[in-house]
């Protein structure tokens, strides 16, 4: 069969389509975005009416996915790692209710923080919810895991957490597809579905059911072809790898391993296979992310075995693994013939020339200067976060999506003036609207700038949920119409923009300023299309 050159993300999307997917629910986030985009661009998906429109945030996405699963259909829900924090309430409780149609929840983690504010390892979340986790080591495995994963989810009766990392998501390799399956038909849970009503009396039973299911999950891991033990007579050191760490190990042993190796790609940990590895005097754990398995092994074995990994400093505690870092630990250090010449300067990302966010910050900076050190600008996540860098240095915070409005509120409550929030349009609808309601309810003196480029730019220009309706949304939430001000962020409007910002800062209540000009990248793409 022909091999297709797929990104890990694309392999996952194609596998879902081939396995009878009925809908994908997601909010964009690097490195997960291309999965949903692939399905959105698939003519086959369109023809079959497969749901693929972006959700407003990860929580709404996961809840809708659970609903589609309740109705018997196979559903995929995708997000970047921090997205699972937003969806956590649904995630933890979907582990209590269980599923009906197969449900795969994909988390794309970003160790080394190529495009993220932290490098949390969502296997911890999977363990917290006590759900089975799959972690592919290559693109073909990613395809196969999704193709078979819906069936696994249906057989076990629980959602499956599929964890990938940046290098899996954004690396291409040849992938073989398998035969297409039809979608499930509409059906409701056969057991009456009482388990979806998590009243305490039912929830207690469901929790016991989840605890009982752990044994089944472990047996599934032990039987899984994704977990594999490679024996070797050299029992001085056994090596355990998870996910793509297996590749970095293999890279260092092109002619075959010299130690026993246990490759883990399905969790909970397969106890029986781990027992085999404990025949070794010492164990080295290679995992991409937190020392999740390393910590578990220490408790799990309780036999005073020597475990090496990120916790004892054998490997660096943070950052992604590389073939070099893995080789070094095993005494196979790679050497460079050349170093980076001193003349090479850093080239950080920057706001595009001609971007409207630039004009917003230029005007805002001048007004803020008039208030001296007292003025605080709380910002948020998106292209406009690059306003933190020179020449702008315009913002004081970027924590999690939506936090600019609520942090400004808290600071204003503490007496800070002026308390300003700068937030993007997609971030506003993702998680800013509820915070705005808090401000309105207390008439908090905050000035909120929704820098509206009519797209979700940072992740590549996806549709933004509130485009064309931001004023109406703000008004609906209760902001006084005369304090909702719209302006086009262009040089010729600087004076007007400055006046407007000044006026709204001086108004001691909630005001929303919407500088609106389309993202120049999406504009360019439309012109070339």
């Amino acid at each position: 069969m022909e091999r297709n050159l797929f990104l890990g993300d694309e392999a996952i999307a194609q596998a879902a389509l081939d396995a009878g997917l009925s809908g994908v629910y997601a909010y964009p986030g690097t490195p997960s975005t291309e999965i949903t985009e692939y399905i959105q661009n698939s003519p086959v998906a369109k023809e079959r009416g497969i749901h693929s429109r972006w959700s407003t945030n990860e929580k709404t996405a996961m809840e809708a996915a659970l609903g589609m699963s309740y109705a018997g259909k196979r559903t995929l829900c995708c997000m970047k790692h921090v997205g699972l924090n937003v969806a956590a309430d649904c995630f933890m409780n979907a582990a209590m209710s269980g599923i009906h149609g197969g449900l795969i929840i994909l988390t794309a983690d970003d160790p080394s923080m190529h495009s993220s504010q932290n490098e949390q390892d969502n296997r911890v979340f999977g363990n917290f919810a006590m759900l089975p986790i799959l972690e592919p080591s290559n693109q073909q495995e990613a395809y196969d895991m999704v193709y078979d994963g819906f069936g696994l989810s249906e057989k076990l009766g629980y959602p499956i957490l599929l964890r990938i990392t940046t290098r899996m998501a954004h690396s291409r390799a040849g992938v073989q597809r398998r035969q297409e399956k039809p979608q499930n038909t509409l059906s409701f849970p056969t057991d009456g579905g009482q388990r979806y009503i998590l009243l305490p009396v039912i929830a207690r039973k469901r929790y016991k059911a989840l605890l009982t299911a752990q044994d089944t999950f472990t047996k599934a891991s032990e039987a899984s072809t994704y977990n594999k033990y490679f024996d070797s007579p050299n029992k001085k050191l056994g090596i355990l790898t998870t996910g793509i760490a297996f590749n970095y190990l293999s890279e260092n042993y092109p002619d075959g391993f010299e130690n026993p190796v246990l490759k883990i790609s399905q969790y909970p940990l397969p106890r029986k296979l781990i027992e085999k590895l404990t025949e070794c005097d010492e164990i080295l754990v290679l995992e991409e992310g937190y020392p999740v398995v390393e910590e578990q092994l220490k408790g799990f074995l309780g036999r005073g075995l020597k475990i090496h990994g990120r916790l004892d400093g054998t490997l660096q505690r943070d950052g992604e693994l590389t073939p070099d870092s893995v080789g070094k630990v095993l005494g196979k250090e790679t050497t460079s013939s050349y170093s980076i010449p001193e003349v090479v300067a850093g080239r950080p990302p920057a706001l595009c020339q001609g971007c409207g966010h630039r004009d917003v910050y230029d005007a805002l900076n001048e007004v803020v200067k008039e208030y001296g050190e007292a003025a605080r600008v709380f910002s948020d996540i998106g292209c406009y976060t690059l306003g933190a860098l020179p020449p702008f240095r315009a913002i004081d915070s970027c924590i999690d999506m939506g936090a600019s409005i609520t942090m400004a509120k808290g600071a204003a409550d503490a007496g800070a003036f002026p308390a300003i929030s700068v937030i993007g349009d997609s971030t506003f609808t993702h998680s800013g609207m509820t915070g705005l309601l808090d401000c309105v309810n207390e008439a908090t003196p905050v000035t909120i700038i929704i820098s509206d480029n009519e797209t979700t730019a940072m992740t590549g220009g996806q549709d933004s949920a509130g485009t064309g309706r931001l004023e109406a949304i703000c008004q609906g939430i209760g902001v006084a119409p005369k304090h909702i001000r719209v302006i086009v962020p262009l040089k010729k409007n600087y004076e007007e923009m400055k006046n407007l910002i000044r006026e709204e800062i001086e108004y001691r209540g909630v005001s929303v300023i919407i500088p609106r000009r389309e993202c120049i990248q999406t504009l360019k793409r439309k012109k070339h299309a």
């Binding site: 091999r3 050159l5 990104l7 690097t30 490195p31 975005t33 291309e34 190529h114 495009s115 290098r167 899996m168 954004h170 690396s171 291409r172 390799a173 040849g174 793509i244 590749n247 970095y248 190990l249 293999s250 890279e251 092109p254 590389t322 073939p323 070099d324 080789g327 790679t334 050497t335 460079s336 013939s337 050349y338 170093s339 980076i340 010449p341 003349v343 090479v344 300067a345 850093g346 080239r347 950080p348 990302p349 920057a350 706001l351 595009c352 292209c383 690059l386 020179p390 940072m458 992740t459 590549g460």
Partner: protein
């Protein structure tokens, strides 16, 4: 056969199209390949690179180990230097000579050139001018691919076929423009080397 390539440039310059063409050709040749790309934040005008690995045997790591790249293909001179720790001692650097200056502290260009001069194996070309002369101003990335073709271990004609397949969707004109750009880069490198 095994070849490890680092593609370098600045976000937006089009290194991923180069990778797509090579990948397409390699897959048709029945080679294994892995190609790690950078998406996301750095695409906003930051430094970007892609690790491209081709082999007639299965490839383990998506990332190239240090000191092991056979080739660095770069659309920007300073960016070609950033990945030197990954270059093999006898590896080649094929780079555009025209700087892309979007940072205030971009070094003086003679200093960058001096560093390139020190390398034993390099091809340094003004790909933008070559692209313009070939009537394919928007195909600078394919010019540099043409210049790098002799080092790929894949036949020139297979790369041409890769271009035809990758750009087919965009129409015959675009395909021809890119074929011309490929040839112009190939010829220019041949004369220089």
């Amino acid at each position: 056969m095994k070849i490890d390539i680092i593609l370098a440039g600045v976000g937006g310059q089009g290194i991923l199209s180069i990778a797509a063409v090579i990948g397409e050709a390699a897959l048709k040749e029945g080679l294994y390949m892995k190609q790690a790309e950078v998406h996301g934040m750095s695409q906003r005008g930051g430094d970007v690179q892609s690790n491209l690995r081709l082999s007639d045997r299965p490839i383990a790591s998506d990332l190239i180990p240090k000191g092991q790249a056979d080739l660095i293909i770069s659309l920007e001179p300073m960016e070609s230097l950033r990945y030197l720790p990954y270059l093999k001692k006898d590896g080649w650097v094929v780079t555009n000579s025209v700087p892309f200056i979007n940072i205030p502290n971009y070094p003086e260009i003679d200093k960058v050139e001096a560093e390139l001069d020190k390398l034993p194996h390099k091809v340094v070309l003004d790909v933008e001018s070559i692209a313009k002369e070939a009537g394919s101003a928007r195909s600078a990335n394919i010019v540099i691919l043409g210049a790098a073709t002799p080092f790929l271990g894949i036949d020139y004609t297979k790369i041409e076929e890769g271009i035809c397949r990758i750009f087919a969707r965009k129409g015959e004109d675009i395909v021809n423009q890119n074929l011309k750009a490929l040839k112009a880069g190939y010829d220019a490198a041949g004369q220089g080397a």
